[in-house]
Structure formats: C-alpha cells, structure tokens
Symmetry: C2
Subunit: 277 residues, 2 copies
C-alpha cells in the first residue's frame, strides 16, 4: 500500500553513481513511499550548484515537502551551498570525511570527481580485457580459451550466464566464460558432462532458475515457441540440475537475484581472486 | 609518496558492492596511504558476525592500528556486533537511517539484503534485454536494429565503445549500439559519414582518445602490428575527429575516464531517458 510520494535528488560532482548507490540502498528500506528520482551529475562549479539549489527549492514548493538529497560532493563550498537548500541533504563526505581524517591521522586531498578517474590505467586495461574475454567466450562460442578462464558458468539458455560473465569482468576483473547446456548436452547422455567441459571441471559453476521464470524470460524472446514452453523449461532445468548433482558441480538458483548478486555469489562461493579492488 | 598502510574491511549482509562503492569514494581522497582491502559479503547471521569481529580484531593486533570498516548492515544486532569490534566502523545505515526515518516520518522495514533483490522482475528483463541489444549490435555487426537504439556510439577501434554500450545497458537500461570507423570509413571519402549511418545521424555520438593511449591499448592486443603503431593511431584519430567536426557529431575524449564516467557522460550529454532508476 502506497501512502505517500517524495522527490529524491542524487547529486554529485562526478557521475553520481555512488550517490545513487547509497541512496538506493537506504530508500529500499522504505516501503509504501513512491520516490520520484532526479539525478544531477557533474555539478562541479558554483554556478551549477546555485542552479541545483533553485531546482530543489522549487520542488519543495511544488510538492509541499522537503526533497531528500543524496550527494557525494567533495568541494566544501559546493557541498555547503547544496546543504543550504530546502532539501534534507545526506552527503557521504559530510557524514564520514572528518571522522575518517581523524582515524587516518591525515587530511584528505579533496579532489573533485576523483573516484572514477582512471588513476591506474592498468586497472582499465584489466577490466576491458576481462570484458572482452567474456564476450569472446560467450555462449560456448569456443572452449579453446577455457584454460585462461577463472570460471566457466554453465546452465540452460537464458539462465543469466552472459550478463553475469560481463559483470564479473567489469566489476572484479574476473575472466569468466560461459557454456550453454544444449538439448544434446542435456538429453543426449544421461547425467554426463559434455566432453568439451571435462578438462575444466574444477572451473565449472552452475546457474539454475525456476521453470516459471525461465518460461517468462524465453517467451519474451520467442513467444509461443517450443523453446519457451513451460514443459520444455521444466525438462531442461531438471536435466541440468541432475547433471550438476551427478558431477558434483556447485550451483545456485538465480531466480530472485540481480546480476550483481549472482556475480558476488559466484565470486564468493568459488573463492575467486579478483583483479580489481 | 606513501607514508603508511592500513587494512580496510568492506562488510555487508548482501553483496558488499554498496559498501565498497562508498568506501572507495572516501578512500580515494587519501593519498599516501596503501589500503589493504578485504571484502566480506553475505554476513547475515550472528555466527558470521562474531567470526568477522575476530578477524577485525586479529588484524588490529597484527598491524597495530584499528582497521577501517565500511559496512552496510541492516540488522541492528549484527551491526552493533561489528561496531563492537576494534575497527573504526563506518556504517551507511547507522549514519543515515534514523535521520531518514524522521525525514520520511516512517520506520524502515529492515529487510536484510534488500537492495539488490529482484523486487521488480521487469527491471531485470529491461536490463538483460538492453545488454543483449548491446551485444547484438556491437562492433557494427549490423545496422538493421539501429532504429531501436537510443544511441549509436562511433569511433575508431578500441576507443571504449563496447564496454560503454554494455554498461549503459546494465546500469541504465539504455539500448546502445556501436559502429567502429574502419579505414575505409576514415580514409575513403574525406570527412563523410558512412552511408549506413546517415539515417541515424541524430543518434550518433563520438568517442575519441589520445593517440598514445590508443597505441598502448592496441599494442596489448596486437603487439608490433601496423594496427597498433603510433602513426596509425594518430592518423585514424585525426580522421575520426575530423568526421565528427565536419558532421557536427558531438564527441568526448575518453582517455582519462573510467567506463562508468564515459557512460554517465553519454547519458548526460545526450539527455537520454534511462529505463532503470
């Protein structure tokens, strides 16, 4: 039951991705409120800051309630300007930086937009290389690079393998390949792993999903096909899980998980060593 | 100049991605300190919490300095347990939740790991569909789906187009295609756009990069090739930028930007309407 709505601003001198991340974490704790969200990135001078204050104040007037503002503003002058608005401002640096300076016995350097700046171009290279690995080893295109893979995800078509592999590359610098279990793999030889995967069994990790959810996902792609039918989804999933169990391949059910969660679980359960911190 | 090092923990009942994001934002403000980072996700019961406290205390003893702890712990009992360790704990919910409850005049629901849970499976579908769009329309494979694209990134090979398109899909639900400017496009007809792109010129956005950086990136892929040579990089980039200018295609230089930053800039500069909030 929705009881009210409130305008929320995410404001930053950089991309505003951090402001959104922390704001979303907090807001998901509040049911029953609809949040109207406005993101304002790259607020890196006083002119832009003054404009933002006007926007917040107008919204306060329009809605009759002070907007909630999540911000990551390094520059103290810009931060104070936004805090002088009619919004209720939650700023990451305001909340933590003074204490952190005390705990670390140093002063921070207050460089605007620093977080997402490529200080280390090696990190950038690792990341791009890992994403390219995911793309080049997607969907069982080839197994010839599996010796370079940190992990090989297996599962039926549309069980979340591809986005998870890409995310593992982007976020953690993990080299992740994926192999889709085809009908031949699933129903050809009872409970046996495809030959191509045998040399890599220690790198295998299974993804499974509830048949109803898979049916819905596949139906969007190919409505009313045999591929998308609930019966087909049920039998493919049963066969896949049976292969996982028979071959002692660890697996997780991703039905109610986001891509981030699947990736974090894969990392955690396999004790993979990330290349990006 | 490095003056000290400190151990940092990122702790969460969920993926710990939020804890890392906020911690990294803060830590990049401190030069001269090396941070040894330990991420502990899925700390969702008291047994795990007690184990974490021991780990933090051992590290305090080993290093002779209290570790810095960034956490996102919803459960008050688990949170208090971690805060009772010898670390200096910065918890997102501890810092903000009470004030936010007051500002929103409600109590939060305190559901562990809520943030990344798929509440809305439509969001999941949009996200995956957008990522698949990026994959299916990568590298100029085909231009036939460009009418469905929100944006078409153009630039020379290895200028950051592919990861940006994927990130735009993952993070914002934006349908992004990309088209690499080949030698034929660049040097065939002076300053003209490739015919295939003409119908979509309003969706075009250019990425460019400094020649030295491109040279390094390409050299990793194909060392000592003509493709990777500095001269080739210089002439390709000059021709690409000339095409952008001659055809009034907006573009950015991504040399010192992270993938997140490029994606946020593309979103912002093109005023694209995101499908994921």
């Amino acid at each position: 039951m929705i009881t009210s709505r409130r305008t929320v601003f995410f404001i930053s001198d950089g991309t505003a991705i951090t402001a959104e991340t922390l704001g979303h974490s907090l807001l998901t704790q509040f049911d029953h409120i609809i949040f109207d969200q406005i993101t304002l990135p790259f607020i890196d001078n006083m002119e832009k800051a003054s404009h933002v204050v006007k926007q917040i104040n107008l919204e306060a007037e329009r809605t009759g309630a002070p907007p909630i503002v999540f911000s990551t503003l390094i520059d103290p002058e810009i931060r104070r300007t936004i805090m002088g608005s009619r919004g209720r401002v939650y700023d990451l640096f305001e909340a933590f930086l003074v204490d952190l300076e005390r705990d670390l016995s140093v002063e921070s350097s207050q460089i605007v937009g620093r977080y997402h700046t490529v200080v280390n171009s090696n990190d950038y290279d690792v990341r791009i290389d890992a994403v390219n690995f995911a793309l080049g080893n997607d969907d069982g295109i080839s197994t010839k690079n599996y010796d370079r893979a940190d992990i090989v995800l297996i599962g039926v078509s549309r069980a979340g393998k591809t986005p998870t592999c890409i995310y593992l590359g982007l976020q953690f610098g993990i080299y992740a390949a994926n192999y889709p279990l085809t009908e031949e793999d699933l129903f050809g030889r009872y409970d046996e792993l495809p030959d191509a995967l045998l040399p890599f069994r220690k790198k295998l990790f299974g993804l499974t999903i509830n048949p109803e959810r898979l049916h819905r996902i596949r139906s969007q792609r190919r409505p009313n096909s045999r591929y998308a039918s609930l019966a087909q989804c049920q039998s493919e999933i049963a066969a896949a899980e049976s292969i996982f169990l028979a071959n002692q391949i660890p697996f997780i059910n991703i039905t109610s998980m986001s891509v981030e969660e699947i990736a974090a679980k894969v990392l955690h359960e396999n004790k993979l060593e990330r290349r990006l911190l």
